[in-house]
């Protein structure tokens, strides 16, 4: 695959690893958080941690939309889908995410709810056009990368005068979540998982650009490198972070210049800001409520808001008390610290959301790293 295979070259990766080893000061620790679950997945899949010197460590962050969605939002969707006139459209990743009491959309569908997996928001339009007597609701979820797709769908629905399509909106924003992590007391406390730099997700910046991180880098003295999703991209980003730390710099740098521009994708941002505005507060699994961290529909589009149309009530959050997803999402615990990891909780029988998506830290550990973890645990 062009623009992918060239960035997976093993010899260059090893060369980059040597460069990191040469430049990293053995006297100090470098702890970098990759915010995005896509990076977590690449790091595990290619065993990048094994290439790094012992004092350069990666902390896996909360950037997986499935992992940060509170169980209560799944419960709300299940309740909605149980209405006979409702057809719920969801991205496939959501089907197995545990709600409360062992519920999931997959089980709800088995019990008769009309739940359809879609690849694109345009599929939801097609479904709505074909079933005009049904109320079609799109379960919108994701960071800045999926929001424009929802915005385009809503605009199209309005243009087509589709009256039976609405959105259960769960879109969240990357910079406020990053800020919440940098401010969280257990991150800042001495001796815990302090962060010396952040690897930022390139596809988010393909939309919003690199600018929104400028304030974070300055305010928290945190180097940030926006990186692509091939192994060489991640390795180069780590080297760039090491250099920033060594030079006492804390800037926003762009490793993925082949698709990320400083100013982002103007057209996509306009599409989003036409349709969405900030929600005052949104509950994140693991991170708690964060102000101005999510989106809702603007007033002219209020009739597309499923929460209003179906008077959906917020439900209380009930997470399995033994599940450590919260601490794992903040980077202060590792999946092996969880009693349920690999015993009760596996990708086939997920207890927490981090075990569901292949981008979740628990699922990535289980799939690619468990041998090493078990050895560590015994040692």
């Amino acid at each position: 695959m062009k623009y992918a295979d060239e960035f997976r070259d093993k010899t260059i990766a090893q060369g980059l690893a040597r460069a990191i080893g040469t430049e990293a000061d053995p006297q100090r620790a470098y702890r970098f958080m990759e915010f995005c679950g896509g990076h977590t997945h690449v790091i595990f899949r290619y065993g990048l941690e094994d290439l790094l010197p012992a004092n350069v460590r990666l902390i896996h962050g909360p950037g997986c939309p499935v992992c940060v969605l509170p169980a209560s939002r799944i419960d709300m969707a299940i309740r909605l889908a149980a209405r006979p006139q409702v057809t719920l459209c969801v991205y496939g990743d959501l089907m197995r995410v545990p709600g409360s009491q062992g519920q999931s959309l997959l089980r709800a569908r088995a019990l008769g709810a009309d739940i359809r997996m879609v690849y694109s928001t345009l599929d939801a339009i097609r479904i709505a056009e074909q079933a005009l007597d049904q109320e079609v609701v799109f379960f919108a979820i994701g960071f800045e990368t999926t929001t424009p797709a929802t915005a385009v769908m809503i605009r199209l629905a309005r243009k087509k005068r589709l009256k039976n399509l609405s959105v259960f909106c769960n879109h969240v924003l990357t910079p406020p979540a990053m800020q919440s992590i940098l401010e969280s007391p257990d991150i800042r406390a001495l001796g815990r998982a302090e962060i010396d730099g952040i690897i930022g997700p390139a596809h988010v910046s393909a939309i919003i650009g690199t600018e929104p991180y400028g304030r974070l880098a300055k305010e928290f003295g945190e180097p940030i490198v926006i990186a692509g999703f091939e192994p060489l991209d991640v390795m180069q980003a780590i080297l760039m972070l090491v250099r920033q730390v060594n030079g006492g710099r804390y800037e926003v740098e762009n490793q993925y210049s082949r698709a990320v521009k400083r100013e982002g994708n103007h057209r996509a941002m306009v599409a989003v800001s036409n349709v969405f505005e900030l929600r005052d507060e949104f509950e994140w699994r693991g991170l708690g409520p964060i102000q101005d961290s999510a989106l809702k529909l603007k007033r002219p589009y209020a009739k597309f808001d499923a929460e209003a149309r179906f008077v959906m009530h917020e439900l209380p959050v009930v997470d399995n008390p033994a599940c450590e997803c919260g601490a794992i999402l903040r980077g202060v615990k590792s999946p092996v610290d969880c009693k349920l990891f690999g015993t009760v909780c596996t990708p086939e029988t997920p207890i927490g959301s981090c075990m569901v998506s292949s981008e979740g830290a628990c699922a990535a550990h289980w799939t690619y790293g468990r041998g090493r973890d078990y050895q560590l645990r015994r040692a």
Binding site: K2, Y91, T121, L122, T145, A149, R258, E359
Partner: protein, 78 residues
């Protein structure tokens, strides 16, 4: 869900749609979020939408830099 993949635009369709090829597999996607796209361009595809155009010159520059970074280190530490 969060995966985004590079794809080559093989055909432009009406209504802001296009056919792209991902590793030889054809897929119809929306290009509503991108300006001035031509057949032969590469885009980053995510949940059925092109999110950004890939700049071939920048990609080549990054590759050159990567090769350089990889080999300089080799000379430093034989």
């Amino acid at each position: 869900m969060c995966l985004s993949v590079p794809a080559e635009v093989t055909e432009l369709l009406p209504g802001d749609m296009a056919i792209v090829s991902i590793d030889g597999v054809s897929l119809e996607i929306s290009i509503a979020l991108i300006d001035d796209l031509a057949v032969g361009d590469y885009v980053l595809v995510h949940v059925g939408y092109a999110l950004a155009k890939i700049d071939p010159a920048e990609a080549e520059r990054t590759l050159e830099l990567l090769r350089e970074l990889g080999s300089v280190a080799q000379e430093l530490r034989p």
